[in-house]
């Protein structure tokens, strides 16, 4: 674990806050496994996108989903905060997804509460057409926080956490759309961490960014891993190799292999994985 943690960007109070939720929520093994995916079949209308997926994602680790386009990795990711609910005709036909032991697709689960705990960063940076400040405080204001001092504090903390503070501290009240692509993506990350989720889902966060901006986001992921559980979907295998602890390889809606990142890239067990990571297809 070679975290490049720039000391001032991570302020001490956040670490206990994130950690405090862990002990109370179950026996010791549960702290290890945060998300438990159990034999999941997923359909878009009549088209089956996921076939019998089972895997467990560990707490405070970075898990990467790789695989060719259309393999179902984004679909699975979007199951974790039930974003697929927004698409008509989607359903989980079989299996369950549990976060800290709770089946998130049970009818009595509050989706709003779930999404507060499972943040998301999208492929295309999507700051709201509002000021930087309003972008960050949006989630908190939804929860009814209106104390100015508290909001100011969270804005600074989140922007520092997303390594954006120094760049934007003098123009917090200008539009978020005025930032560069990489800055916009980091703003979106800051917006996601402002509500203190436990899990951050990243859906190809760097695919629209240039190499320099990508490097910055990757660096950021390294600093965030101590506080959050991160699941990242990526097309870029070097990226998966660089930032993740565990990697899952998907192909045609099936989970082909799931193991420590080093193993996936150095000595994959499955020949398909081997072919993909060595660049022979995909």
């Amino acid at each position: 674990m070679d975290t490049l943690a720039p000391a001032p960007t991570l302020r001490p109070p956040s670490a206990p806050a994130a950690a405090s939720s862990a002990p109370g929520s179950g026996p010791a093994p549960a702290a290890e496994t945060l998300i438990e995916i159990d034999h999941v079949d997923f359909f878009y209308g009549a088209v089956q996108a996921l076939h019998d997926i089972s895997l467990s994602i560990q707490d405070k680790k970075v898990t990467a989903f790789i695989g060719p386009s259309g393999c179902g990795k984004s679909t699975l990711l979007r199951c974790f905060n039930r974003m697929n609910d927004l698409i008509d005709g989607t359903r989980i036909a079989k299996g369950s997804i549990k976060i800290r032991g709770i089946d998130i697709h049970r009818p009595d689960v509050d989706v709003i509460e779930l999404r507060k705990r499972v943040g998301m960063v999208f492929q295309k940076s999507n700051p709201f057409p509002k000021s930087i400040y309003e972008n960050i405080t949006y989630g908190l204001k939804l929860q009814g926080v209106s104390n100015k001092a508290r909001l100011d504090e969270v804005v600074e903390k989140s922007l520092r956490g997303a390594a954006l503070w120094e760049e934007v501290k003098d123009r917090l009240h200008t539009s978020g759309l005025g930032l560069s692509g990489g800055q916009q993506q980091r703003l979106c990350i800051a917006r996601a961490i402002a509500v203190e989720p436990e899990i951050i889902l990243m859906d190809e966060p760097c695919s629209a960014l240039d190499p320099v901006a990508t490097a910055k986001v990757e660096e950021l992921i390294q600093t965030l891993r101590t506080r959050f559980t991160i699941v990242i979907v990526t097309h870029n295998m070097q990226q998966a190799a660089r930032c993740s602890d565990k990697t899952a390889f998907f192909y045609m809606g099936k989970l082909i292999e799931y193991a420590d990142t080093r193993n996936i890239f150095m000595n994959p067990a499955n020949p398909q994985t081997e072919a993909y990571v060595s660049g022979r297809f995909g």
Partner: protein
């Protein structure tokens, strides 16, 4: 090799150029066809504008002549006194209103029978009668003067007609007949002498009038209730103000000069700011556009107040909340409204909506609504409700487009942060599409303000500025509108007359108003596209 290549080229060119129409290739023809279509619409627009200006521009000159005659013939002079009389009539109406209130008080609250109530009001009626009679000296004077001034104006009109006749004869080359048309120039000084000579008589009448008023008002009867007493005091106060204005009237009469030229600006200002639209009057025609503008604005305002929530609300529902099945059903339904001919809507307004609204206004537990109950079936409210129906499809369709243009990513980001659907709509979707929605509303306004048939049929067509002192109840009064007046009067005016031209100027005003609204809407939309990026 060098020789074979050009041979191929010439073959190619010859093939392409084989079709020619008036020396134009196929490509040129296509260009001319489509370019021509675009040019035609521009030419038509230019012609319409030019025509409006040509027909309308003559109005202001004619209006000035109209005002000059008004002054020369002494009508203006007489109007000073007439206004005094009219103000008295207005005060008399205040008294009759007060009588109705007292009557209601006696019958409803005191529970008296009709006969008893009338008996109780006997002293008040006596007072009102005396008050009405006080104006007698002035009234006699005015009716004499009115006849004289009208006679002078008539003479002038006849002379003008003869002038026109002679010009026409001369133009036709009939010199002898033209010479036979005798024109006697009018000496206004001589003609006006009898009118101006009544000044001492006026002074006397005015003094007498003031004396009688004071005497009558001194023993005004006491009112049976506190609220009514306040009204009576208000009446006394109005009278005091009224009488304080008498010396000013006398002064106006003394300093009046028939020969004072009418300033050019007055030809414009009397149109733009004139509070009276009075045509084919025995006395004096006024072309003041304010009652019509106010009518149009009031009706449009009511329409927008109803249509904006309906249109924008249903757009939000369809775009953000409805299931595909609902979308499939509701969207065509709303868009279908715009297919209803407006005359049918107007007919519906007269036959059904006007009746229904009036019946509703007379329901007793709704009497707290301002203006309820009312008796005019056709009024601002009726017309506004129907116009709202016309504006809803426009606002709905454009607002839905605007909502559609909000990137899906905003919505997803908001949901991912734990927002509910309502929070997402209110905090993200609507603000992001706000300029589009505003321009939708503006275009709806443009649609409503230009609508003719519905307002002509349902607005009540009373040419007067509604009484704004009634507060919100103003919407239960009838009005006339700019579009309505053109449709109603254009058919029966003499071509080229001042009235005809006045209608064209109203048309011009309408044209510019619509132009301004559309321009504003386009500007807003353009800014909106940039802001979304």
């Amino acid at each position: 090799m060098a020789s074979s290549a050009p041979a191929d080229d010439t073959h190619f060119i010859a093939y392409k150029g084989s079709f020619r129409l008036f020396g134009l290739t196929l490509d040129d023809c296509i260009r001319v066809f489509f370019g021509g279509n675009a040019v035609v619409s521009i030419i038509v627009l230019a012609l319409i504008t030019y025509f409006l200006f040509r027909e309308g521009s003559g109005f202001f000159g004619q209006n000035r002549d109209n005002l000059t005659v008004y002054r020369h013939a002494g009508l203006e002079y007489v109007d000073f006194i007439r206004t005094q009389q009219d103000d008295h009539a207005a005060l008399t109406r205040y008294l009759s209103d007060l009588r109705v209130r007292q009557f209601t008080h006696y019958t409803m609250e005191k529970g008296l029978s009709l006969a008893q109530a009338n008996a109780a009001l006997a002293s008040f009626d006596d007072f009102a009668g005396q008050y009405g009679d006080t104006v007698e000296p002035i009234r006699t004077l005015v009716s004499d003067l009115t006849e004289q001034a009208t006679a002078i104006k008539e003479k002038f009109t006849v002379m003008e007609d003869k002038k026109v006749e002679r010009t026409q004869l001369l133009a036709a080359g009939k010199e002898a007949e033209a010479a036979a048309v005798r024109i006697v120039p009018i000496d206004f000084v001589v003609e006006l002498k009898p009118i101006l000579g009544t000044l001492p008589a006026y002074r006397e009448a005015s003094a007498e009038f003031a004396k009688r008023l004071t005497a009558v008002l001194a023993d005004a009867p006491a009112m049976p209730a506190r609220e009514l007493q306040t009204r009576m005091e208000r009446f006394q106060q109005l009278n005091a103000e009224y009488m304080a204005g008498f010396p000013a009237v006398t002064r106006n009469l003394e300093t009046w000069d028939y020969n004072k030229p009418v300033p050019v600006t007055q030809a414009f200002s009397s149109f733009l700011f004139g509070r009276q639209w009075l045509t084919a009057s025995f006395w004096q025609d006024w072309y003041g556009v304010i009652p019509l503008v106010v009518g149009s604005i009031m009706v449009s305002l009511v329409a927008l107040i109803i249509a904006v929530p309906l249109g924008v609300g249903s757009a939000i529902y369809i775009n953000q909340i409805a299931t595909p099945l609902e979308q499939k059903f509701i969207k065509p339904c709303i868009e279908f409204i715009s297919a209803i001919p407006s005359v049918v809507l107007g007919f519906f307004g007269i036959a059904v909506l006007g009746q229904a609204l009036r019946a509703l206004s007379q329901v007793s537990w709704l009497s707290w609504v301002p203006g309820f109950p009312y008796s005019e079936r056709l009024n601002i409210l009726t017309a506004g409700c129907l116009l709202a129906l016309i504006a809803v499809p426009t606002i709905f369709t454009l607002a839905e487009d605007a909502l559609n243009n909000v990137p899906r990513a905003f919505k997803e980001a908001s949901f991912a942060l734990g927002a509910t659907r309502l929070q997402t709509i209110i905090r993200i979707i609507v603000p992001a599409s706000l300029s589009g929605i505003i321009s939708a509303v503006l275009l709806g306004l443009g649609r409503v303000i230009g609508e003719t048939m519905v307002v002509l049929l349902c607005a009540g067509n009373r040419i007067a500025i509604p009484d704004f002192t009634a507060g919100l109840a103003v919407i239960t009064q009838p009005v006339h509108t700019m579009t309505g007046i053109i449709a109603q009067e254009m058919g029966e005016v003499v071509h080229g007359s001042i009235h005809y031209r006045a209608l064209f100027v109203v048309g011009m005003l309408l044209f510019f108003l619509s132009l301004a609204i559309n321009y504003a809407a386009q500007r807003i939309v353009r800014r909106y596209r940039i802001s979304i990026g």
